[in-house]
Symmetry: C3
Subunit: 464 residues, 3 copies
């Protein structure tokens, strides 16, 4: 512990305010409305190109944006409330770092691949991209959940968002890979970044708070709210920034069937690996979502419905087995303490998704895609590349992403190890009480009181 | 109990995997993208018919689809979490059988009324229809909730989805009835099928687990999440597959006012039937939704806003009275143990809805509908039938649906009585613990610990 | 207490039924489908104006409507479940008075500014407006939460909706102010009306039930569901009835960034004002939303993204400081018992929003808005007014709204003081048990039983 107590108490507020002020200044200098959100420009374009209001990008993408938004704030936030005494922090810090990350992502994604005449122009598509980037940060948050202070999380977000934007630029603009739903740029990136951080922050004595690192009945039901929302809206996530028309439609449908098949696989494997044949809430809450992760790259391609289902089925199997067998090995052998098991939900299914994307790209043919090739693989359509080469770039992108994420995570972990961030001690991990005013009011008494109330009621009637 | 213990434990996994593999094989053989989801076909049609991307069916129906999806997975799932110790199973088995049913429904609805050149072509409309069919299965699930194993539920889903598709074909394509929101095909079908099953599975000694068959404070709040989502999105449900334009718009609005009036009626009757004038959560959670059920047939017709409100008002009254007076009679006199009261929420309001549809159809006139008659009653518009005849077909459809559902439910119940499905014993109904790993970790200690934490906090400061 | 016990028990049902019957009669006489929901009229207009179905207002506004709907029923409803023993009433009475208010609002808004040839024509835009008006009633509900009977709340809704419609007419149609997201008409109005009511209903002995007026762990998590939904969908709220095209798009985006900045400010100030640097759930649940309130007027204007962030940042600071310092003063010095702190969340941020709207209007220029001026400031576009005059009307509107709301609230409070509404006594405030059948079933036993279950399980195996 360092610094004057006064300073210690002010670490979080100072961090929040300094970061928000920096963001505001950068927005003032660089950020402008795009054509679809600017009053003058939209009306000019409308009359010039004879457009109608329903051609504004808002109507193509805003419903999908809101679904993505729900995934980020409700989905991730409540998924992590499974911990019995970390519910406030799960949903609260998720809220804080997401609210920060989406602002920072607007700037970083703008700087690296969205500048127009020196300005970042924003609209609903950039909002979706900012939420996507935020998703990667929240995945990493899952790996370190319960063991990091909010100041550490904010610092992590600053670095991760920046590296995310760089990696995204490399993958999508330099290597020209396709990854609309982010199997690589979001899931692999977020997972391996988080694993890197948590590896460096390894706590050999974490078992001191291990009794808090588990769920209770109602905390598991809260977590299911997160799970179900993620599951339902994943079709919107994967299709949110694909090309308009058949692309959005097909991506959503592929993801829908992938997730359905994944759910059956998850229930099956969860019961198989339990010696009594019982189901484990951890698997249902997480592995059932792997089918969405695994469709992040190939979802927009002509994978066919059955192809999507096979991918989802495999993803569910891999992910559930990972939770059962790989997580303990990672912790004991490799000193990777992955609180939410993001390696099982985002890491491995992300790799599966990137691989499926690579294979599907290699099979692209004009016969199957017709004129739609222009939207899905513009480089192949224009003859700039071949399906085989496109597949190579896809595969290379996976490797680049894993590399940048892992190294970035490790370096970030080292930075977060500096003892200036009010990190919780080993005995106080997974505990809301050190960050939040937790009221204990009268819970003990509630039954006696309620009994009293019933008596009272007879004596003290309603007024009127 | 039959079979080797090893086999018993594997019943659920084997069922899941066998069924998913069958689905995958059938998808491989029969299922293809439709014109709006296929890259080649959509682009061909676009250039051929001079269409724009915003005319892709995705933009007309995907927001409604997602609302329906929320109703199926959050709405039904959480509505059933009211049971104090069956929350995992309520939301978990809801998740499992819904994920299976939507795949199976795609196949069955395709086989019975969606084949094109020997293939089933799918897009957002078939996704909505698959979710609708799933809704019927979940209604039946409500009738048997707590008393059936997941294997039984999956077997039930296989049969029910198949019969649903047959009945839907008869009602919509043979009898040419209108039923866009499914008062008949979804609600009457699901309710009477479920009642048939639960009648055959009657347990005379169910009172042995009756003390678990009730709610606690927080389980009722979780259930309200389900209720409110169903209530809010029912306008989307009823309008999701009506014709584009005024039809979707009118159906949504009619349902909105019906539900509002229904809510007032439910609160009123709930207080009236209680000797102290208190409200009953069971009524609010369920009967307030009857106004949506009752608009499933006439919602798209020119029922007028006030007509919708009258229907909703009646639905709320009937449904609440059913919960209070009919449910005990059904159980004691007719040996129908209807856990969630689906007869009150879906059965009777469904009959009301079908009746209102019959009456409203009989009153259809060119003066009121104008050219819109083509969308609502195409047969009347084309002179193939008269309003009176249309009404006859509507009424007949209700009868056919009740017959197929009841008999199908009874036969399914007989099949589910064969003692091979790991059914829970009478003492263990409404109990998660036999299917799920339920953690008891430290709940007892939490107050003492938290007190300890407060002391500790002073001694073990944050690091940094 | 007055009247025969029989009558007392019937107060709520009689109120509900009488009010619903009056609404139904008025709907029968006055309410009709508008052009976009009427079968005949829409098809006539379509062929006459050569329109397409996707130009039906449904596709421009229904997704936003559903987001608003979620805010009203889930957002407000669950936000108020923070009280440990008032969860049923919070979400239940929210449900009841919202379902009534939206019907009554359809009529009142129609009477005051929506008559066509003596009829009120309705569609998705009027549905959004009805939900908006309902929002104001729910804000006032927050001020009196826990201290009023449902009959009082329904009477309050009748009056408040009526005054809301009158004030809305004055502000939007007489003073020609802009207020698409309702900083003035919804938030200022709802807050000051509620404060007026609660001032008159001041209970000097409310401390008798003060031990119930607080949260427990899980009730705070339920409340966070409400918070997060309000936060996520506020962009839809503010943009729901702005002009189509860039206006909806820009308003949503401005609100998105305002809320993000507001969240950082809220976390910062919440930790600053706590002597241990801990965060307070009350602040996070409420003040983080102030950024949405403060964008209700200027959201559609060319405020720029950075402008929106500055407004949100200020709103978060003001609101959190209000919760910490102003609420106790209001109660102790001014006898205003504001249960949910609506003055901090809606009152002050609403005033900020109205002020920002005034300033932004005064800066409107043709250079910035181009042809878009026609949608945002039609009077300026048509030369009927100047930016300066427009700003004057904006400011005057704020004053008019505060006046009508405060006086209306005080008069309503006086009416509600008449002892005929079955008001709860001071000792029974914040207590579900007087309105609801609250089950206590077996909660005490649940651990012992569950232990028993585990033993039982070994002895009573599954059937099959």
């Amino acid at each position: 512990m360092t610094g004057h107590p006064f300073l210690r108490v002010l670490k979080l507020p100072i961090t929040c305010i300094v970061m928000e002020v920096i963001v505001i200044i950068l927005f003032a200098v660089f950020v402008r409305y795009d054509t679809d959100t600017d009053a003058r420009k939209w009306h000019k374009e409308k009359s010039h190109d004879n457009k109608s209001n329903y051609e504004n990008d808002f109507y193509f993408r805003y419903p999908s944006f809101q679904d993505v938004h729900v995934m980020i704030f409700i989905g991730f936030g409540f998924l992590m409330t499974f911990l019995q005494r970390y519910g406030f922090s799960s949903v609260g810090f998720n809220f804080l770092i997401a609210a920060f990350s989406l602002q920072w992502a607007t700037l970083m994604q703008g700087f690296f691949h969205g500048m127009h005449n020196g300005k970042i122009e924003i609209g609903v598509e950039s909002m979706i991209n900012a939420d996507f980037c935020t998703g990667a940060v929240l995945i990493s948050f899952g790996a370190v959940l319960g063991k990091t202070s909010p100041v550490q999380l904010l610092i992590m977000a600053v670095i991760e968002v920046t590296l995310f934007a760089i990696n995204e630029f490399l993958v999508l603009s330099v290597l020209n890979a396709k990854d609309a739903g982010g199997s690589m740029t979001i899931h692999i990136f977020g997972a391996y970044f988080g694993l890197g951080v948590t590896r460096v922050l390894y706590r050999p004595n974490l078992d001191k708070s291990q009794h808090k690192n588990c769920s209770v009945y109602h905390s598991d039901l809260f977590a299911m709210i997160g799970t179900i929302y993620l599951w339902m809206f994943w079709p919107s996530f994967n299709s949110a920034i694909t090309a308009e028309g058949d692309d959005q439609h097909r991506t959503a449908m592929n993801t829908y069937y992938s997730l359905a098949a994944c759910t059956l696989a998850t229930f099956a494997i969860s019961a198989v690996v339990n010696h009594e044949g019982k189901l484990d809430m951890v698997h249902i809450q997480n592995a059932a979502l792997a089918g969405g992760v695994a469709m992040g790259t190939a979802g927009e391609m002509m994978l066919t419905p059955v192809g999507s289902m096979v991918v989802g089925f495999l993803a569910g199997i891999i992910s559930t087995l990972g939770f059962k067998y790989l997580t303990p090995i990672l912790e004991e052998k490799f000193h990777v303490q992955d609180t939410c098991g993001v390696h099982n939900l985002h890491g491995m299914p992300g790799v599966l998704g990137a691989t499926v994307g690579t294979i599907t790209a290699s099979l692209a043919s004009a016969e199957v895609y017709g004129e739609g090739m222009k939207d899905v693989f513009p480089d192949i359509y224009e003859g700039k590349t071949t399906p085989f080469k496109q597949a190579m770039w896809q595969g290379l992108s996976m490797g680049v992403t894993m590399g940048i994420a892992s190294i970035g995570g490790i370096l970030t972990g080292l930075l977060l190890k500096v003892p200036i961030y009010a990190t919780p001690p080993d005995t106080m991990c997974f505990e809301d009480n050190i960050y939040w005013e937790v009221c204990l009011c009268h819970k003990e008494d509630s039954h006696q009181e309620l009994a009293a109330v019933r008596t009272e009621e007879v004596e003290k009637p309603l007024n009127g």
